[in-house]
């Protein structure tokens, strides 16, 4: 907690006007893009040295609103207005004419180390300012400040608490035989290489506290499980049974993991207390059981098994592991399950009747399976944001594998990161730094 409060102290936040948004609400339904049109006006600068920064911030703000699928972002080319720095005299009639329902305006004042970022949100239909904030921060923290503003706008309009914009994603970047374990912000910025080797880095998974990443590597000539501390880069061996030590899934107690071991001659799912090293076997089946994903309540584990002849998604109860339920019936190649943090959904990679790999989501309440991607290359390895609203995955729709984001309904998807190599197996940290 102290880490976050320190971070919070990095901003000096001044509420310039009192909230008055009680009447404005956007009805949001998953899967349908709302008719609420949002305009993000170019951010004004008092010092032209900040022009590029202002453009970056406006784009970042737009993309956060866009990925939720809740708003239609108006094309900047349709704007009649040039950016102005006057927050009080807004020409609502002109904004109404371009079809805007809501408007974001901003200004960066000052230059050098710390600058002021002012952002205001207007209800165009009601012709009034709903709120306006001023953030004082170092330039490298302004994006986080802008994201705080977007989270407030989303909360105001939809009532939903979203925090995906304050979290990190880890993935493997593979270039030939070179493997890099990379951490970026959710938007693909701030690339940080945690570990590099030519001896494989596979299936990364965050620890519950977001300070470490589990992964499997052949570095000592057996696929062993390691954990690496993100700050110190210290790598520790976690599990080195003969055969596979793969697919770590971290429990929220920050010490237990579920994993796949083949020490008994066949891939089975176990849970391992990483402190006491005590091991509990969860599956007993001559078929392959792998890819565990534990829910955040620590009560169930989703996994892949080919016990019915081909790989399908199942879940078992941790209190009674023999209690196994099959979740997918359609298709013959369903893999990579991942619980949403709210426990209501499981995303997975499935192969459809045209042999294409796509992302699907199981609604655990209704058991309905919704398709997230279609007709756009190979899409794999879904992982949920901490608020369960957005998924990250890898897709080769543009040629090579890049990191993509999509809302859970699949109505908005775009690439956020592409490097020299292929992006493989993204994993979304459940820790947020606002």
């Amino acid at each position: 907690m102290s880490f976050f409060s320190k971070l919070a102290a990095a901003f000096m936040l001044i509420i310039v006007s009192a909230p008055a948004w009680a009447q404005v609400r956007v009805e949001v339904t998953e899967g349908a893009i709302s008719e609420y049109n949002l305009a993000v006006s170019p951010i004004a600068v008092t010092d032209s040295a900040n022009t590029a920064l202002a453009e970056d911030l406006a784009t970042a703000i737009e993309r956060v609103f866009d990925i939720t699928g809740y708003f239609k972002i108006l094309d900047k080319r349709s704007f009649l207005e040039k950016p102005d720095v006057d927050f009080t005299a807004v020409d609502f009639k002109s904004w109404t004419n371009v079809g805007a329902n809501g408007l974001v305006k901003g200004k960066i004042s000052g230059s050098g180390g710390e600058v002021d970022l002012e952002l205001a949100f207007y209800d165009v239909s009601g012709a009034k300012q709903l709120f306006r904030k001023k953030y004082t921060a170092a330039q490298n923290m302004l994006k986080t400040a802008a994201y705080r503003f977007t989270a407030e706008v989303i909360k105001t309009l939809t009532g939903e608490e979203m925090n995906f914009m304050f979290s990190k994603i880890a993935f493997v970047e593979k270039n030939g035989h070179q493997y890099n374990l990379v951490v970026t912000n959710f938007d693909g910025s701030g690339r940080n290489v945690i570990h590099s080797t030519t001896k494989t880095i596979l299936l990364p998974e965050w620890s519950a506290d977001g300070t470490k990443i589990y992964f499997t590597s052949h570095e000592s000539n057996n696929p062993n499980l390691y954990v690496i501390d993100i700050k110190s880069r210290q790598k520790t061996l976690v599990s080195a049974y003969e055969g596979l030590n793969t697919s770590a899934s971290a429990h929220s107690d920050n010490k237990t993991i579920s994993l796949c071991l083949s020490k008994d001659g066949n891939s089975e799912i176990y849970s391992l207390d990483t402190e006491t090293k005590s091991l509990t076997r969860l599956t007993t089946n001559s078929a392959t059981d792998t890819a565990p994903s534990v829910n955040s309540a620590g009560t169930e584990v989703a996994f892949v098994s080919n016990r019915a002849g081909n790989p399908q998604i199942y879940k078992l109860s941790l209190s009674d592991p023999a209690n196994v339920e099959r979740l997918t019936e359609q298709g013959k190649y369903n893999q990579d399950p991942e619980f949403s943090p709210d426990g209501k959904k499981i995303a997975f990679t499935g192969r459809d009747e045209f042999y294409k790999f796509d992302i699907f989501i199981i609604n655990l309440e209704t058991r309905a399976i919704e398709r997230v991607t279609q007709n756009q290359g190979k899409n794999e390895s879904p992982t949920f944001s901490p608020d369960s609203k957005i998924i990250a995955f890898s897709s080769n729709r543009d040629g090579k594998n890049k990191l993509y984001l999509s809302n859970v309904a699949g109505t908005k998807q775009f690439a956020v990161y592409s490097g020299e190599g292929e992006v493989v197996t993204p994993t979304w940290s459940q820790v947020t730094n606002q």
Binding site: L203, T216, N221, G243, P311, Q335, S381
Partner: protein, 240 residues
């Protein structure tokens, strides 16, 4: 070895005649796979037929895996038809389809004398300590050894019997389709399957190590049936 293979083959065809839909369509499969291999030259000059043949072959193999043998038979025959069309295209458009450096006059007129000499293939001789180790291939999503490669396992068993002090490592691999975790498990199952064959022949388990690399080390990085076939494999490596 060869005789045994022919007997098995004949037996299979006989079985095929008795109970058509109970057995995988081995004959049709072999014909289609051979036609597809023969059509490789047309990969770039008759791309449309090539991709269609590849897709049909893919669907047919999938149908075999799902035990839909009648469907598989039809699909194999359709794949063969497409592959034959490619071969025809190649024959009719030699300039377009032949790689430039492969062209040349054969100049064979049937005259002159022939001297023939037989060599022992040292690379594949199990009595040779430096024998080149074979690569074993597998069916899609299965640890079932591709039937054509069973003699290669026998060759490896002979080598292991001839050099009882030698230890080998079997490395299991998968093609790129499917998740990293699942393919690690699949690669391991393939290595275990080969190891089991060696154990059944009486090889000491202490002499056989196994490891899976999943889909991490393709021999052919392309995304097509041909590459996937090559990548679904187990390799033998010398440990001592």
């Amino acid at each position: 070895m060869k005789t045994l293979k022919y007997i098995l083959c004949a037996l299979n065809i006989a079985l095929l005649l008795i109970c058509c839909s109970e057995k995988p369509p081995k004959e049709e499969r072999e014909m289609a796979e051979k036609a597809y291999k023969d059509a490789l030259l047309g990969k770039d000059c008759d791309r449309e037929d090539y991709l269609a043949a590849e897709e049909l072959l893919n669907m047919a193999r999938e149908a075999v895996n799902n035990k839909k043998y009648d469907e598989a038979r039809t699909l194999f025959l359709a794949a063969k038809e497409r592959a034959d069309a490619i071969a025809k295209y190649v024959r009719e458009h030699p300039d377009e389809c032949t790689p430039k450096d492969a062209k040349g006059d054969s100049g064979e007129d049937g005259s002159g004398s022939i001297a023939e000499q037989t060599f022992v293939d040292e690379a594949n001789n199990p009595s040779n300590p430096d024998m080149e180790f074979p690569t074993i291939h597998f069916e899609f999503d299965q640890a079932t050894i591709y039937a054509d490669d069973l003699p290669l396992v026998e060759m490896m068993i002979s080598w292991m019997q001839n050099f009882p002090e030698k230890v080998v490592r079997i490395e299991g691999h998968a093609d790129e389709r499917g998740s990293i975790d699942y393919n690690l498990s699949l690669g391991e199952k393939r290595a275990i399957e080969v190891k089991t064959k060696l154990l059944q022949a009486g090889i000491d388990p202490q002499r056989i190590k196994i490891i899976s690399y999943g889909e991490e080390q393709p021999v052919d990085p392309a995304s097509n049936e041909d590459a996937w076939f090559k990548n679904r494999r187990a390799e033998f490596k010398r440990v001592n």
